[in-house]
């Protein structure tokens, strides 16, 4: 090299003389001549078909500008280094680093009673006064005992319903008991509620114990009230009032909201998003309707094709990006989850897009009657008569529920590395599996990918986000700010 002092060796002395090897890689055609290639560790590159052909047929030259990028992305390796093995192993391990801590989310169904009669409700509603649908303190005791057998350093207690606050006495009991029996875990409490029954007593108790809230908000009043009927047709007003009261007492971040997309939502993503921004939320989760509970019975009325949801999602995301461009900071939660999987090395905490599936091993449900389910969706199926995802009851031992129940075989079948259609999919590092969904819609835990709407929806969304990252610099920098 010209100018290099003669006591130094030139760069050619450190280049590798041999040819390169291919590392495990998956590829997928995007549009035109463009292919996505992903490594085992989740690194990705977009390549032309010609380049991809050259690479896999070992024709790529070391002088090619792509060569160092392929090495650094752990798609190929040569004799200049063996560190890629350590790094790939560490990346793979990091992406699964939540597994050893096992179940962190523990859902307690305090009651099935509810004052709403939502069209898409995932559990059979019952009138408010039938206490046989309430969880008893004795059942709660057993469930708390099981929870503390989880190895997780952090335990999140989520109160579910029905309308969980209709059995507030039990909420209070579980919070106090869990705190009393706490053996050094980090405890968190979340109440899932429609907020219609928020009382001063509940507010003070939540303030005292640092409880946060999750509620439903489907959009502007007309849409929200049509989706979520209750006597008085005032669900939206009750929700808005509840959110305000919670914020005043517990702080701005103490309450989050979830929306469910129904057929009536499809033509108004902007209005739904505006409603979230108007109410002061800095994120919105554009959520697909689940085919459980009443959603199935009313599917003709409130359901829609996957393609329509994807269009709705893309239109909504574009609108949210545009709001950001105008200085209004608001994130789309599913996009944020997918972005984290694409761009960040860590393990995702989102239960419904994991491999192996998050059911049981990330979250578990203690039903009001003492039955234990691997997921909330599994519980909903049971209310429809299909008890496939029932692991046992709170009277079983922890070992029986987790090791000698239907759980492990289901988890086993949910690992994308071995799922037909996923095993060689380039999006595998960013996707997850949903055995309940596939069992419900296609008859087994694995399902048939070419006709799976789970696959269709997630492929479309993940591909859309990758395309935005690649093609639209300005949008990409906005999306990256959501990480």
């Amino acid at each position: 090299m010209n100018g290099l002092n003669r006591s130094f060796k030139g760069p050619e002395s450190y280049r590798n003389g041999s040819s390169y090897r291919l590392l495990p890689m998956k590829f997928m055609r995007f549009r035109d001549d463009r292919y996505l290639v992903t490594s085992m560790g989740g690194d990705y590159m977009f390549l032309s078909q010609t380049k991809l052909n050259d690479i896999v047929t070992h024709k790529l030259q070391q002088t090619d500008t792509l060569y160092p990028d392929l090495l650094a992305s752990h798609l190929i390796a040569d004799d200049s280094s063996t560190a890629h093995l350590d790094l790939l192993a560490a990346k793979y391990r990091t992406r699964h680093s939540r597994l050893p801590s096992w179940t962190a989310l523990h859902m307690f169904v305090t009651t099935l009673r509810c004052d709403h009669s939502c069209q898409y409700c995932q559990v059979s509603r019952v009138s408010e006064d039938r206490e046989s649908f309430d969880m008893t303190p004795a059942i709660a005791d057993r469930a708390i005992g099981l929870m503390f057998q989880s190895p997780s350093a952090c335990l999140k207690v989520e109160f579910q319903g029905g309308e969980s606050l209709l059995n507030f006495d039990l909420v209070r009991y579980i919070v106090s008991e869990a705190k009393r029996r706490n053996d050094g875990r980090q405890l968190e409490f979340v109440i899932t509620t429609n907020l219609a029954n928020l009382t001063e007593e509940i507010l003070s108790f939540s303030e005292e114990h640092g409880i946060s809230f999750s509620t439903s908000l489907d959009g502007p009043a007309a849409l929200h009230n049509a989706n979520r009927p209750r006597p008085g047709r005032d669900s939206h007003a009750k929700t808005e009032e509840g959110i305000e009261r919670l914020r005043q007492r517990l702080g701005k971040d103490a309450v989050s909201a979830l929306m469910t997309t129904t057929a009536a939502s499809l033509d108004q993503p902007e209005r739904i998003i505006d409603e979230y921004v108007r109410m002061g939320f800095d994120s919105i989760f554009l959520r697909y309707i689940s085919p459980y509970g009443f959603a199935v019975k009313s599917s003709a009325r409130i359901g829609y094709e996957t393609k329509k949801f994807v269009d709705f999602f893309k239109r909504g995301l574009a609108y949210i990006v545009d709001l950001n461009r105008r200085g209004i900071f608001v994130r789309e939660t599913y996009t944020q989850i997918v972005l984290q999987k694409i761009l960040m090395p860590g393990a995702s905490g989102y239960i419904d897009l994991q491999s192996p599936a998050g059911m049981g091993i990330s979250g578990i449900v203690y039903n009001y009657n003492g039955e234990v389910y691997s997921s909330d969706e599994g519980r909903m199926l049971a209310e429809m008569g299909d008890r496939t995802f029932r692991l046992g009851t709170v009277h079983d031992t922890y070992e029986k529920l987790f090791l000698d129940s239907p759980l492990l075989p289901m988890i086993h079948e949910s690992m994308l590395e071995g799922v037909p259609g996923c095993t060689d999919c380039a999006l595998q590092p960013y996707c997850g599996s949903d055995p309940v969904f596939h069992h419900r819609t296609q008859g087994d835990f694995i399902g048939h990918r070419p006709t799976s709407s789970f696959c269709e929806r997630n492929m479309a969304i993940i591909k859309h986000i990758l395309t935005l990252l690649e093609d639209d610099k300005e949008t990409a920098s906005i999306l990256k700010s959501w990480l």
Binding site: P11, A72, D86, L87, A90, M344
Partner: protein, 389 residues
Amino acid sequence: MIPLAAKFQSRPEGRSFVARLTNDKSLPSPLCDDEILVSRGDEPAPSGSYQGLIRIAGAAHSEEELILGDEFSYLDDGDIVRINEFAGELRVLYRKGSYHNVLFFTERCNSRCLMCSQPPRDVDDEYLIDDILEAIPLMSQDTKVLCITGGEPTILGWRLIEVLTAVSRYLPDSSLHMLSNGRAFAYRATAKAVSQAGCRDLMIGVPLYADIASVHNFVVQARDAFDQTIRGMMNLARFNIALEIRFVIHRQTVSRLVQTAKFIARNLPFASQVAFMGLETIGFTRSNLSVLWIDPWEYRDALREAVTMLAAAGMRVMVYNLPLCLIPEEIWPFAQQSISDWKNIYMPECAGCAMKAQCAGFFASASFKYSDHIRPFDTVSQLPSFSII
């Protein structure tokens, strides 16, 4: 610039010793064992049981006195020097009031970086460690931070552990920042031994010059260095030792700057911080100047991309050794005043610059070669808070 070494008339019969400076002319004799009395100008110097006498900027009052010029008037109570009367040398080992105290371990190194500011020499310099071990017990308990550098400190093997242990015992509240090429930590036992030395706050700064082996190995002139350094970083993480990744930007590294930032975010997210560093034009850099020099102005966009990407990935990022006028204002919040006080200067162009007080400035060696884009700011600009939108 502050001089850290002085020559004086050698004394064939002389001693060699490490001692602390004091201004106290009436120190009780039992407390004088490790102390050298400093007198200034014409002040009288009492005879006592001090280890030695130094006079700054004045004529000798006695034969015993060692005379230093006015440039050493910064020396103060609590500073530590090594005096070798036989060789006629004084070296300042420690300045109590400085944040830039360096424990210089060795001149030896197992790498030979193109831009090394301290070209390695294969000499037996273990006396440096003996001096350091003597100096540590004399240092102030209030010492905030000590920097271990070389050469390559891990070359000393167990003697490195000896020093770390001494710091953890004598200066339990001080932070330690060690610069190492990280190669020795490819051995788990080395990383484990360092982690067990008991230092409360130790961070190891390890350079990574590329995301691919061939470029990194060329820059450090050692085959296998990349693999050893990567495995070393992973072992540091394994033993919970804080890691700083250091990337020196020059013409041979700049083409992989952005890619290396991405590589770090994906593969080495456990690093406590990542530092992007301007080139110091001294040592080997001068021998290789034409293949190394790039005006920082030319890489400012790449630097912005690298810094914002890592920050967005949640990593702590620093920009060292680059004046504010050469980097995009968007990444000013990451710029540090990183240049050690004793070799920190500003250029004639900096006269009247409103941002000088917040600016890293230059290495004293930079007057040899520096950017064509240095310009003073008229007004103090508010450092913007970071946002990547």
